[in-house]
Symmetry: C2
Subunit: 180 residues, 2 copies
């Protein structure tokens, strides 16, 4: 029973497109690996390729996507790993349903202001959304419901490493990680 | 780094409906837990509820289902757990694609003869398939391609505990489990 200490947990990062969710997930993963944990990155793009190629970005499809992701994340936590979910997940109800499906759930609001997300626009999506070429784009033509129940809120003004350390500390504080 | 020993693996049980896949998964899970491992059961019904409510049983839908299941199983293995997949998965190509997606993959053919599966018929599906009420039912109105690449083949004539022990031994033999 060498591994009973391993609680398993789900870290769910919500925020606008280009808020820096995946960058943060990667920084958290690096810090968790250094602690001997087993992080599993579940970012929106990988998830769409892996389990949700059939889904678009309507509210109903986003709800289905969030439910499927919660299922995968719960399996990872059950295996003793730390699921790092980076998903716009703009609707409060979808996030609350994910929380209800998972035992140890840490909601992180990656609260980068819209102007900064749009200035980054890594994939040119904001530009295309402003031009009317992408419908239902969160922050431009679809709403983002900021969470009122986030355990951690980050404005991403610090370095990703500092923000990641805050997330890891929040996990450790709850007893969801093994000894460092 | 308390957990570097934990390899993570995927056990993929294929076989006809009512072959006894889920029963076997549960017996394997119990033995793995007793060894200090972290098994995660992924049986067809749970997976359909969790990630594939949209899919039916056409060959194309079965291929999509197998690919999604492989994605989830890989995440479990990455977290250091042992994914126990019980899925009819009647097509060789789908199983080989799953194998290609996963590093440590053990294919188990639950080779209960059709007559015995049909005699069990826990949910009455064979009866309905014979009556023409269910189309594309594996073993009756859709093919089952027996694997030529199974690491373990079981005719389920022994007890589930004995069969499960054979699967656990195959995992241990490959160095995919921690010390007992």
């Amino acid at each position: 029973m060498a591994d009973a200490r391993r609680a398993g947990a789900v870290v769910w990062l919500t925020g606008l497109p280009c808020a820096g969710k995946t960058t943060l997930c990667e920084a958290v993963a690096a810090q968790l690996v250094a602690r001997g944990e087993r992080p599993v990155l579940l970012d929106g793009d990988a998830l769409r390729r892996g389990i949700s190629a059939d889904l678009g970005f309507s509210p109903a499809d986003r709800a289905t996507q969030a439910a499927r992701v919660a299922f995968v994340a719960r399996c990872v936590a059950q295996a003793g790993g730390v699921a790092l979910v980076g998903l716009v997940s703009p609707y409060d109800a979808d996030r609350k349903a994910a929380r209800a499906a998972v035992a140890r759930f840490l909601l992180v609001h990656v609260a980068t202001p819209l102007s900064r997300c749009e200035a980054r626009d890594v994939k040119g999506h904001y530009g295309r959304a402003r031009a009317g070429e992408i419908a239902g784009f969160t922050g431009v033509s679809a709403p983002y419901e900021a969470p009122d129940d986030a355990e951690v809120t980050l404005r991403t003004e610090a370095s990703p490493e500092q923000d990641a350390a805050a997330i890891v500390a929040a996990l450790a504080q709850r007893g969801w990680l093994g000894p460092a």
